[in-house]
């Protein structure tokens, strides 16, 4: 999927996260993560975010994550939603989400 516009998903509430996607200034993929549990889980969160983006076929854009201690399933869900909103996707490939 190609991110064609700025989009947002999720919240800043505890156990959730806010994900912002945008086409981005450069040509590559930039992921910026900020988390309350960066010390222990920063790498894990980064891995989940990048893995989710890869499954969706996102190779370019800026993805900013404000994590509030969310479970991996919530991280996946919010990244997927933000990308779909930013790609203006009309159809959903469910197999790319599981």
């Amino acid at each position: 999927m190609k991110i064609v516009k700025e989009a947002l998903a999720g919240t800043l509430e505890s156990s959730d996260l806010l994900v912002k996607v945008s086409p981005g200034p450069g040509t590559g993929l930039e992921v910026v993560i900020s988390s309350e549990v960066m010390q222990q889980f920063g790498l894990q969160i980064d891995h989940v975010v990048r893995d989710t983006l890869a499954r969706l076929g996102v190779t370019a854009g800026l993805v900013v994550v404000e994590d509030k201690g969310a479970l991996d399933c919530a991280i996946r869900a919010r990244v997927q939603t933000a990308v779909m909103r930013g790609a203006e996707a009309q159809t959903i490939d469910w197999s790319a989400l599981s």
Partner: protein
């Protein structure tokens, strides 16, 4: 499981009742109601208004939470809602002002500090890469091959409209520097549109060597960098008003381009300009920042027939349809455009589009008065 809080958006212009309650909540939190806010997110618990946050375009204002409900999850939900609302309205790049002691709270909400006047105020934006990628883009425009001790100038103009005075200042500065970076304020709320202002500047500086013309940005003389509202609210006056804008220039923009000198026009007997230029010296050269100092160079305005040329004088003459006198103050392309496009926009008996009324929600009054 359900949420006990009910959030929804309110346009204060269309609901007197909501407006009254918002005003009361802000009052109980020691905040003033801001007239320019287009939309609020409000929160009710059991019918009672307990929290609100407003948007004036892309600036988050008037965030308040009932003191009894602070410290819980409500504030995070409130911020989530206002950010979602801003996106829905087409604003993804947001700014907010807060007192330095609240910075850590907003950092937890996805905001990042841009500039701080210690003890008074901090400007924040909702992206970790905003100012950084802006400066990266500027850095890519740095001219190659300049010596390390090069004298690199910077000028910021609104050019509403572009006058012979602007042209004179630019030429003078370019002659005194190894390179000159010229920025046109991009906030498109002035009498002359940004598109026209930029085109006239581009035309007017053609042929001047060692000059780069830049589009302005949110980080420079914008509604975001001139927090009139905030200072009025907090009763902070004087020195701080221009500090955020100037600190952003000194700490981020100047280092990205290696700017060592900032040029500014001056009017010898204008108190406002004198004050603004003094502020500029204080924040760009003084000890208020650890970034390298930027030397401020004041240039007296060029005169036509005894009075300094200023854009506000040109607008005043336009209002009285005195084209002959305008012709002596502006380059030919500016004159043609004013005559063909802007003269007809001034209607008899209509509210004055050029005075403070028309200008106040345009550029911050202080920036205008200072002659930017």
């Amino acid at each position: 499981m359900t949420d006990e809080f009910d959030f929804y958006a309110v346009e204060p212009a269309t609901s007197a009742r909501e407006r009254r309650e918002i005003r009361a909540l802000l009052g109980s939190c020691g905040l003033d109601y801001e007239e320019h806010i287009q939309v609020f997110v409000v929160c009710r618990a059991a019918g009672r208004l307990v929290a609100c946050a407003g948007l004036e375009s892309n600036i988050v204002k008037c965030c308040a939470i009932d003191p009894e409900l602070r410290g819980g999850s409500l504030s995070l939900t409130l911020l989530s809602e206002i950010v979602h609302l801003a996106y829905e309205r087409g604003h993804s790049h947001l700014f907010l002002y807060t007192r330095p002691e609240n910075v850590s709270f907003f950092q937890g909400c996805g905001f990042y500090a841009l500039a701080e006047v210690p003890g008074y105020v901090t400007l924040m934006e909702n992206t970790p890469v905003g100012i950084r990628s802006y400066c990266d883009r500027l850095r890519a425009l740095r001219p190659q091959g300049l010596p390390p001790d090069a004298k690199i100038g910077g000028i910021v103009i609104n050019a509403n409209p572009f006058t012979l005075g602007h042209q004179y200042l630019v030429k003078l500065a370019a002659a005194r520097c190894d390179w000159l970076h010229l920025f046109v304020v991009s906030e498109d709320v002035s009498f002359v549109s940004y598109r026209d202002r930029y085109a006239l500047v581009e035309e007017g500086v053609r042929g001047i060597e060692r000059l780069t013309l830049h589009h302005g940005s949110q980080y420079m003389v914008s509604r975001a960098t001139f927090p009139d509202y905030f200072f009025k609210e907090k009763g902070v006056v004087g020195d701080c008003c221009t500090a955020i804008d100037l600190l952003l220039f000194r700490n981020h923009i100047a280092p990205a381009l290696g700017i060592t000198h900032r040029f500014v026009g001056t009017e010898p007997f204008c108190e406002t300009t004198r004050k603004y230029n003094a502020d500029m010296k204080f924040w760009l050269q003084g000890a208020g920042s650890t970034a390298p100092a930027v030397t401020v160079i004041e240039e007296a305005r060029t005169r036509a027939g005894g009075t300094p040329i200023s854009a506000s004088e040109v607008r005043r003459l336009l209002r009285s349809r005195d084209l002959d006198r305008i012709r002596a103050l502006v380059p030919a392309p500016t004159f043609e455009l004013l005559r063909e496009k802007y003269l007809s926009k001034i209607l008899p008996f209509a509210p004055d589009p050029l005075g403070h009324g028309g200008e106040s929600d345009a550029l911050p009054r202080r920036a205008v008065a200072a002659g930017i």
